[in-house]
């Protein structure tokens, strides 16, 4: 219905605004995206493939997948548990809890890395203690996981909470009355009801986890082949003026970003009702 407004706006205005929008899109979004692929292929397909086959690049890809494979399931379990507690029960301090869950979104990624150095770094609160037991956290994969988990913590929870709020607890109550246990209720009643929102949250969480830069940059130490995830390896290569290699790795992440957008758009189109509650981010 709203598109009938095209007819009411003067033709020059419609055209002018569309042109302005398309130019803004091209300049702000499409140009950077195109540049990634153009720069990656600047020295030909051979150089591109060689850059990706490089052992350090391969280890960066693996590390990114490992960190993502730990952080995302953690935050998924957290998201389901938090949404279950917040939406199926009444308790004091609920609003504060929801605010706290959203908090990591409003913190600079650099601060999300910094806080773990303040805790576990050489001069951290628990630094001496960890040193006694010969445990190192900062500059290891553990730190990468901690920082990534903090940055991506709200994604699944904030997708589930509005949906489960609107669904209420009637179906679960019926299942329990009929003799189903807690796990059975969760797996056979709740999860099927929230599966698309869950998938949506996991998708956004995964995309962010794979691309996280600021937070992991602070805790990683940039040890090549050991604690350099894909974004960090891109930084290392770029700073060494190895532009083709940097953009080659970047093109993999850019491709993944486009796939993410495609799945996200498809989910939004098909399951609008489940996802409408939270479209931002």
């Amino acid at each position: 219905m709203s598109r009938s407004a095209t007819r009411r706006d003067p033709g020059w205005m419609v055209n002018a605004l569309i042109v302005v929008s398309v130019i803004y899109f091209a300049l702000v979004l499409l140009l950077p995206l195109g540049t990634v692929f153009a720069e990656a292929l600047r020295k030909g397909l051979g150089a591109y493939l060689a850059a990706i086959a490089d052992p350090e690049a391969q280890s960066a890809i693996w590390l990114t997948l490992i960190v993502t494979a730990i952080a995302v399931p953690l935050n998924t379990a957290f998201g389901v548990a938090a949404a279950w507690a917040v939406t199926k029960f009444e308790f004091w301090g609920k609003n504060a809890l929801v605010t706290l869950i959203d908090l990591p979104f409003s913190i600079s990624p650099v601060i999300s890395g910094l806080v773990f150095v303040l805790l576990y770094g050489a001069h951290g609160w628990f630094g001496a203690l960890l040193d006694n037991y010969n445990v190192q956290i900062i500059f290891t994969v553990t730190a990468l996981v901690l920082a990534t988990t903090l940055v991506t913590l709200p994604f699944v929870a904030r997708e589930l909470i509005p949906l489960m709020q609107s669904q209420g607890a009637d179906e679960e109550a019926a299942a329990v009355t009929l003799g189903a246990g807690a796990w059975r209720t969760l797996f056979f009643v709740t999860l099927p009801n929230i599966r698309w929102a869950l998938m949506y949250g996991v998708l956004l969480c995964t995309a962010r986890a794979m691309g996280e830069f600021g937070a992991v940059s602070v805790v990683s130490g940039h040890i090549r082949g050991q604690t350099a995830t894909m974004p960090l390896q891109i930084e290392i290569l770029y700073n060494e003026y190895n532009s083709v290699a940097a953009f080659s790795l970047a093109s993999l992440l850019a491709f993944f970003a486009l796939v993410t957008l495609a799945i996200k758009t498809a989910l939004e189109a098909r399951f609008a009702d489940d996802l409408a509650a939270q479209r931002l981010r």
């Binding site: 095209t6 601060i111 807690a182």
Partner: protein
């Protein structure tokens, strides 16, 4: 009564304590450990002040530019039909999906003196990359989706009757948009502005490659945190982080209050 309340809430609280509460406690408490004198010395240092001014200033300008063009884009996407509209709509979220480091090196390549756009301005003596201008460009990229996605749903739900009534009463289209539509979406514009600003202030990955990171000139506050950490000045790093977060918080509080005020005035 449903089962699972204890375990679910227990796990949630434990998880939040480990990942959010205890880490943030360190951020709030550690700036003071070397004494208030050290805290003040770090904060009042010209380099810190310049970095904070750049971070907040460039974020503010970038969010303002996005407020204008984001509103136009949202309007066009909601109200007009044209080829590739759906594709553009899906692409709005690109800055959310594209890793910041990837955006960062792409922007640096585009706006460097030998880049596609940088080379257009270089002969005029205008440098974009490695100046505060470059910082602003990166923050425009980062903030764009917040603006569009805040305004879009409000425009979609907007009651067309008021617009039609104004037209019937003889108001021309531009006047209707200016006096009817714009006030109605003003709170959404402000909400998008706040989100874009908050994100831009803390932004790191997309900025550092194009910024050039010259102390006192194009060095952003988050980078200064990293530099202080590299010097093992934990208290200093925490101090910069703490002040950055405090200013953001106060700014958002002020913007939210303003937003409440505007939407209440719009309703009465």
């Amino acid at each position: 009564m449903l089962p699972g309340f204890g375990p679910a809430l227990g796990f949630t609280l434990l998880y939040l304590s480990f990942f959010v509460l205890i880490p943030l406690a360190a951020l709030v408490l550690r700036p003071w450990e070397a004494g208030f004198g050290h805290f003040w010395a770090v904060i009042s240092d010209a380099r810190t002040l310049d970095a904070l001014r750049l971070s907040f200033g460039a974020s503010f300008i970038a969010a303002s530019i996005n407020a204008v063009f984001g509103t136009i884009v949202a309007w066009v996407l909601v109200r007009y039909d044209f080829p590739a509209r759906r594709l553009l709509d899906a692409l709005v979220d690109l800055p959310f999906a594209l890793p910041t480091a990837v955006a960062g090196i792409a922007l640096a390549a585009i706006y460097a003196p030998n880049g596609i756009i940088g080379s257009l301005f270089a002969p005029m003596g205008v440098r974009i990359a490695y100046t505060p201008l470059g910082v602003m460009i990166a923050l425009i990229f980062v903030g764009f989706p917040f603006m569009v996605r805040s305004i879009q749903p409000v425009l979609e739900d907007l009651d067309l009757e008021a617009e039609e009534a104004a037209a019937t009463l003889g108001a021309n289209r531009l006047r209707t948009i200016w006096q009817i539509v714009l006030p109605a979406i003003a709170p959404a514009i402000l909400a998008g502005f706040s989100l874009a600003l908050a994100r831009a202030v803390g932004e790191y990955g997309s900025v550092i490659f194009i910024a050039g990171n010259i102390p006192n000139v194009s060095e952003i506050a988050p980078l200064l945190i990293v530099i202080r950490l590299d010097e093992f000045d934990y208290a200093g790093a925490a101090a910069v982080g703490f002040v950055m977060l405090s200013i953001s918080f106060l700014l958002l509080l002020a913007l939210n209050t303003l937003q409440d005020f505007i939407s209440r005035r719009g309703r009465s």
